[in-house]
């Protein structure tokens, strides 16, 4: 495992492939990208690992850093937690049990579905919304990109974050406790956000996982191995499967008032409304960064989230009467976050109001000189962002092609 870094990111730009165009620049929800000298750069403090830069890059120049299967060799016994969205993939006709058999052939002894944690998460969410005195609407912590978005752009809404641990870590910590020292627990990630959430966890001291593997890497290996062995499979019930798509929390928490929003820019828009208190009375916000939820994760080999969504719903139907192998009581020790989730410091222009006001005046002054058309040619996503870069000494007004 690489050393932990406070602002670790799993996204990186391949310098030899990047053309210095502005696709990623325009689509980044936190304005974390700048193009300088025909090369895109990611600003660490602003990046939330949503992966939309990868989604929108026509050249494949943005890559995601993950472990590959060679990390398995460090452990004698290997357990894999898979996100439900993984079983929504088209494995070219392989049945679920064949897929599992191949995962075992690749070196795992046990597979758990993340949805098992989700079932406890849903049950506890319902409990605190009905009984507890929580700040409504609560915002679900299931998507780590949404949590980071709030740390970067909506620090004053952090008090709305659910106090619950994530489904991924509720299950992970429960399984971890049962495992011995030489056992490795791995997570199969559908997105860079979850990779970062494991490498640099928020709200808990330490991730229960020993490694994280990208879903597309395992997918490729599964199609390649062509042999099966046996192992233990633990699948969840239908509500756990539904975590893989948008609307899963809404459906299984009914009749609570849940608003489900997919797409990170839609989440941004909604949070702005929430800040202004222009939203109806709601119990929970189910926000997901990806279109259609995790079935739209950028590390899934199938990029058409609608087909994945369709297959996931089929899977949900198959599980209609399935019962989760672990109960809420089994996972009771890990249901809550143990540390507060803090704003990212850079959000404020300065620690001190006077200094911040001074910087803001400079930004206004530079902004007045710019054409206010947000063309992106200067390498900053908006004229306002360039003005801020200039005020901070990171760019110059001449970068604007109109000046």
């Amino acid at each position: 495992m690489p050393a932990f870094n406070l602002y670790f990111h799993s996204l990186r730009i391949k310098e030899d492939v990047c053309k210095g165009c502005t696709h990623c620049l325009r689509n980044c929800p936190t304005e974390a990208i700048r193009v300088r000298n025909r090369l895109a750069q990611i600003k660490d403090l602003k990046c939330i690992d949503c992966g939309d830069c990868v989604r929108f890059c026509p050249w494949g120049a943005n890559e995601v850093l993950t472990d590959d299967l060679s990390v398995l060799s460090h452990y004698e016994y290997r357990v894999l937690v898979i996100p439900p969205a993984f079983l929504s993939l088209d494995f070219l006709g392989l049945s679920t049990s064949e897929v599992m058999g191949r995962i075992f052939a690749l070196g795992f002894q046990e597979v758990y579905e993340e949805g098992i944690g989700e079932e406890a998460y849903l049950e506890e969410t319902r409990r605190i919304l009905t009984k507890g005195n929580v700040k409504k609407p609560l915002i679900s912590v299931a998507c780590p990109a949404v949590i980071r978005l709030m740390q970067v752009r909506f620090p004053d809404l952090l008090s709305h974050l659910s106090p619950l641990n994530t489904p991924r870590d509720i299950l992970g910590a429960t399984v971890r406790r049962k495992l011995g020292k030489n056992s490795g627990l791995f997570y199969l990630a559908p997105c860079p956000a979850k990779i970062t959430a494991i490498r640099n966890p928020q709200g808990i001291e330490k991730s229960p996982y020993d490694g994280v593997i990208a879903a597309n890497i395992l997918y490729r290996e599964i199609l390649r191995v062509n042999e099966t062995t046996s192992g233990k499979v633990h699948l969840s019930g239908p509500s756990g499967v539904a975590i893989g798509r948008i609307g899963g929390e809404k459906e299984f928490l009914s009749p609570l008032r849940v608003l489900a929003i997919d797409g990170i820019t839609n989440v941004v828009r909604f949070l702005k409304e929430l800040e202004m208190e222009k939203v109806p009375a709601l119990d929970l916000i189910e926000g997901r960064s990806c279109p259609n939820g995790c079935v739209g994760g950028i590390l899934l080999p199938e990029r058409d989230s609608f087909l994945n969504l369709y297959r996931l719903e089929q899977e949900e139907r198959k599980r209609e009467n399935a019962i989760s192998p672990l109960s809420r009581e089994d996972m009771a020790d890990f249901l809550y976050l143990t540390m507060p989730i803090q704003p990212r410091p850079q959000y404020f222009l300065s620690e001190n109001m006077e200094a911040a006001a001074k910087l803001l005046k400079m930004i206004d002054k530079f902004y007045e000189k710019l054409p206010k058309i947000d063309c992106g040619s200067c390498g900053a996503p908006t004229c306002r962002a360039l003005a801020e870069d200039v005020a901070k000494g990171e760019a110059s007004l001449e970068d604007c092609i109109f000046l």
Partner: protein
Amino acid sequence: MNDLLYSHTYQIQGRDFEHGGEASSDIKEALKRMGINPQVIKRTAIASYEAEMNIIVYTEKGELLLEVYPKMIRVTATDRGPGIEDVELAMKEGYSTAPPEIREMGFGSGMGLPNIKKNADRLLIESHPGKGTKVIFEIDIPNASV
């Protein structure tokens, strides 16, 4: 007061519902980046939004002036619209002269001015029928902000 830390003027175009709320949202963003107490920001933003929408709904054009002092935020909304005949009446919850087409857009419940009063620590309305309206409100910043 000459310890003004920051000020900015936001122009508002009457009847421009498409951009309605942008000025108050810019005000909110500026205050957020200065690290001002979130509760103060919220109250300022909500009151500014009401003042901005009144300019859009009832007048041709106006502006919001934001002034930030170490212990207080002041917003001055100025327009050269029709003015308010009876300010005391306009301050009553539920009183509105908004025409039906405005009500269809979800405005006109007569809650705007009362909402400003609720969120501000001080409010002053000066209006001259036929000449225009000035709505000034202040929100105190409690000690130990940031």
